[in-house]
């Protein structure tokens, strides 16, 4: 046993030399998908010469890791993932405000006024319809939140869980917004939708998968996830948007408080907001809308001119999230 213990110890000593934590190196907590994260960091390194590594984490996982590190974070910057997570992190004092010069090209409502976080992409909620499955029950592609409550859609709607998925929470908050800011109204809508939901999935785009496979007639997803599925081979899927108005997610980027390489982290934020980086999404199958006004959206991305957006209060959504999610768990999930 002593001999076997020696192996990891030797490993440690050997590699401790390699990972001494050089100054020109940053670590990113990345909340978007693997390939997007990989492309972003690789191009960043090419541009600046600063080495960048990333770990893909959901918002909650990233939060838990940053929080648990108690002021000695392993990450320098946080990139991707919905802004409500960033809001919560800001409230916990985990973010280092940084007003990037590049933020000037981004609408004020898409970033934190204090510079705690800045929006890098926009995802719009839509319906991912499988016309074949809907036709079996005599339905057309769904175009309104109200129509989703139709009894014929029993167990035929895919949606993500508000606790595990940014998509899920955006659905919930959109209903709050449509209910005039009333949390009760938002929860009430989900309670009525619940019988039609096949399952509250862990991840946001699983509903697009389910629609693609025909497990459900319609999935509530960010429209770019449905587009990605179409690209993946589920060509028959159709994206629609609710006429009552729909919610959206702002993907954020932020510098983490106590970062070992704050300079590198700020350089990364500048890069993430640049037009050049925001054009990269479609090349890796990521069709969210860019926030940088200088970037023309890809033709497959949602067309904001044809969509009604609700008045989405990002800070409010972020602050309400823990409580609202818990209420969802207790009042809707556990009550079933």
């Amino acid at each position: 046993m002593k001999r076997t213990l020696a192996i990891p110890i030797a490993l440690t000593l050997a590699s401790a030399a390699c990972y001494g934590g050089g100054k020109d190196r940053i670590t990113i907590a990345c909340g978007a998908h693997e390939q997007w994260c990989a492309t972003m960091t690789r191009r960043f390194t090419e541009q600046t010469g600063i080495e960048a590594g990333f770990v893909r984490l959901s918002s909650g996982e990233a939060m838990a890791r940053i929080k648990a590190a108690r002021g000695k974070p392993e990450f320098d910057a946080w990139h991707g993932g919905p802004a409500d997570g960033y809001e919560a992190a800001k409230k916990e004092g985990l973010l280092e405000p940084y007003l990037s010069p590049a933020a000037a090209r981004i609408k004020p409502e898409w970033r934190d006024p204090g510079g705690a976080w800045t929006g890098v992409y926009l995802g719009v909620l839509g319906f991912c319809n499988n016309p074949d499955v809907l036709a079996e029950t005599g339905l057309e592609p769904v175009t309104s939140w109200r129509a989703l409550l139709d009894e014929r859609l029993r167990k035929n709607v895919g949606v993500a869980h508000p606790a595990t998925s940014g998509t899920g929470y955006t659905v919930l908050w959109t209903q709050v917004a449509l209910g005039g800011g009333s949390q009760d109204a938002g929860l009430d809508y989900l309670r009525r939708l619940h019988p039609n939901v096949l399952q509250f999935n862990k991840s946001g785009n699983a509903a697009a998968q389910q629609a693609g496979r025909g497990e459900v007639g319609v999935g509530i997803v960010f429209s770019h996830d449905c587009v990605a599925q179409q690209q993946q081979g589920y060509a028959k899927l159709r994206v629609t948007f609710p006429e009552e108005g729909t919610g959206y997610e702002i993907g954020g980027v932020a510098v983490i408080k106590g970062a070992r390489n704050p300079q590198g982290a700020r350089a990364y934020v500048d890069w993430a907001l640049s037009a050049e980086s925001q054009r990269l999404g479609p090349t890796v199958g990521f069709y969210a809308l860019p926030t940088n006004a200088g970037v023309t959206p890809d033709s497959k991305a949602a067309d904001l001119s044809k969509i009604t957006l609700v008045d989405y209060d990002v800070p409010g959504a972020g602050q309400a999230k823990p409580g609202l999610v818990r209420r969802f768990e207790d009042e809707i999930m556990a009550a079933s």
Partner: protein, 544 residues
């Protein structure tokens, strides 16, 4: 009763090493989390535990654990029975098929289940025209039982092979029918062997996270609830409280099992089985065989889907062959990282489990329960919580008087790219399986064989190395194999420990599946499965 009172140094060293492992790997990180659960701020959280919703979650968890443990143990028994007592063809193949689920990467099997047996499943809907909703308890029980039963199977297989057939002959001779022999003789003799996998499966089932998330539907269990508290509510306190609750049934069941098995000490292996196994060759063998073959077919279909999914564009929609997914997976550094770390962790875990079992069964009367339990704890704690515990406990450098005593072990920038913490997590998560199988087989080894060695002048450690170890080698093999598979497939803890320098396959599977790149996810799982199966063969070669 102390079997020896001198020459205890190796025993003490072993106790020290085992305790250190448990303390560093489980207790301290867990305590770091629970410290949060013990703050005054957490008090109101406890009051809510009696709420209808939390009680419902607790009930769900227990029901799931019970069903999976029962079904998984029954499956293990069925396969072991077919293997050792039936005169049927293709037993070798059945054996290997039964081992495949040891490699159960999160997401892949659950996803394959949905693809094949879900609402629009290629089999349930496509073949039989059913509109079956697999999300929920039934789907969970199916997937979890299939995923976890191999460990029960291997343990019971070893035990049934070791049963002295003369006893069965004696019973038959007394006029007992085959069925009666099974019920009144084999089952009671296997009882300690059944209790061990039952406990293990129960604990694994209630601690499993990936499947309740993918397949759970409205069925919320404590593990997923704790995960949701972390990821959705940013509420580690609640997660810690839920974990505390999750530990209660695990501990309770554990104590019950000890009490029950402890009262009926059955020693069956004397190293001298007499008589000959009488294989069932009448018509009665076919229902059992049929059932086993059906289960085997389901397993093959699921893993076949994973394999097929990794070489087709979009399985179920576009069956065009492609190597792109595999290319992505094989190009990932995660493959090498994971394999190396698992290879480092496996011998440590296998040996630790064995040593703990040896100490618990043979050397510590009073303390054995605690050690055994502490070893099992690694799996009873939800991985999410353990992961957070690691971050809390080992993220910062440990300094005493301004001197760094222990550098941070977790995260980017930590020593060895955070791989030490990952290895530690691998070890504590996979020790329990080895511990349980080793305990089961040690309990069956007649103490006089070891006493004979002691009487001839062997010190405890010499006896262990020369006598005990070779005799429980099959159990060791099982333990090692299972440990390696666990390492390669564990996810929930690892999510909190991966760094840019150490990528882990399961985390890649997770993100690929999260992206909707199911082909890539399947490809990762295929590669993972191949590596594990190849390693199992290698372990067999090395140990045998």
């Amino acid at each position: 009763m102390s079997r020896d009172r001198g020459g205890r140094l190796p025993v003490r060293v072993a106790i020290g090493a085992a305790s250190a492992l448990v303390l560093a790997g489980t207790v301290y990180p867990l305590a770091s989390v629970l410290a949060e659960a013990a703050t005054p701020a957490a008090l109101p959280r406890y009051a809510r535990l009696t709420s209808a919703s939390d009680l419902g979650i607790l009930r769900n968890t227990l029901v799931l654990g019970f069903l999976v443990a029962t079904a998984g143990t029954a499956l293990g028994l069925l396969f072991a029975f077919v293997q050792t007592r039936l005169d049927v063809p293709g037993k070798r193949l059945l054996h290997w098929i039964a081992l495949i689920p040891m490699v159960s990467p999160p997401f892949a099997v659950a996803t394959a289940t949905v693809v094949l047996y879900g609402r629009r499943g290629l089999i349930t809907h496509g073949l039989f025209g059913l509109d079956y909703d697999i999300y929920g308890l039934d789907g969970l029980v199916l997937v979890l039982s299939l995923s976890f039963f191999p460990v029960a199977y291997l343990g019971l297989l070893g035990m049934m092979r070791a049963l002295d057939p003369a006893m069965e002959e004696a019973a038959m001779n007394l006029g007992a029918s085959r069925r009666r022999v099974f019920r009144t003789l084999i089952l009671p003799l296997l009882a300690p062997g059944l209790a061990a996998p039952f406990l293990l499966l129960f604990v694994e089932a209630i601690a499993d996270l990936a499947n309740p998330l993918v397949l759970g539907g409205d069925y919320v269990v404590l593990a997923s609830r704790a995960y949701l508290a972390v990821t959705g509510e940013y509420d580690t306190t609640s997660a810690a409280v839920y974990s505390l609750v999750l530990l209660v049934p695990a501990i309770g069941l554990y104590l019950a099992q000890r009490h029950w098995v402890g009262r009926k000490v059955r020693v069956t292996v004397t190293g001298r089985p007499a008589g000959r196994v009488h294989l069932v060759s009448g018509w009665a063998r076919w229902p059992f065989y049929g059932l086993a073959v059906l289960v085997a077919l389901v397993i093959v279909s699921l893993y076949g889907t994973v394999l097929a999914g990794s070489v087709t564009e979009v399985f179920g929609v576009d069956f065009t062959l492609t190597l792109d997914h595999l290319r992505v997976a094989l190009g990932s550094e995660a493959i090498a990282d994971t394999t190396v770390l698992a290879a480092v962790a496996t011998p440590i875990a296998g040996l630790a489990g064995l040593v703990m079992a040896w100490l618990a069964v043979r050397h510590l009367r009073a303390g054995s329960g605690w050690l055994d339990f502490a070893g099992t704890l690694g799996i009873a704690v939800p991985g999410t919580v353990l992961g957070i515990g690691y971050v809390l406990a080992y993220r910062s450098d440990l300094e005493i008087g301004g001197v760094t005593v222990l550098p941070g072990l977790v995260g980017g920038g930590a020593v060895a790219g955070g791989s030490l913490a990952i290895v530690l997590a691998f070890v504590v998560r996979s020790v329990p399986a080895g511990l349980r199988t080793a305990t089961g087989s040690l309990a069956q080894l007649h103490p006089s064989i070891e006493e004979a060695s002691t009487g001839l002048g062997a010190r405890p450690f010499q006896t262990f190395r020369r006598i005990t170890l070779p005799l429980i080698r099959p159990a060791l093999l099982t333990g090692l194999s299972y440990s390696f598979a666990r390492c390669m497939t564990s996810m929930s803890t690892i999510v909190f420990l991966v760094t840019p320098d150490t990528k882990i396959i399961t985390a890649q599977v997770l993100s690929a599946a999260g992206m909707g790149y199911y082909g890539v996810a399947f490809a990762y799982c295929t590669v993972l499965t191949v590596i594990v199966l190849a390693s199992l063969a290698a372990i067999r070669k090395v140990v045998a």
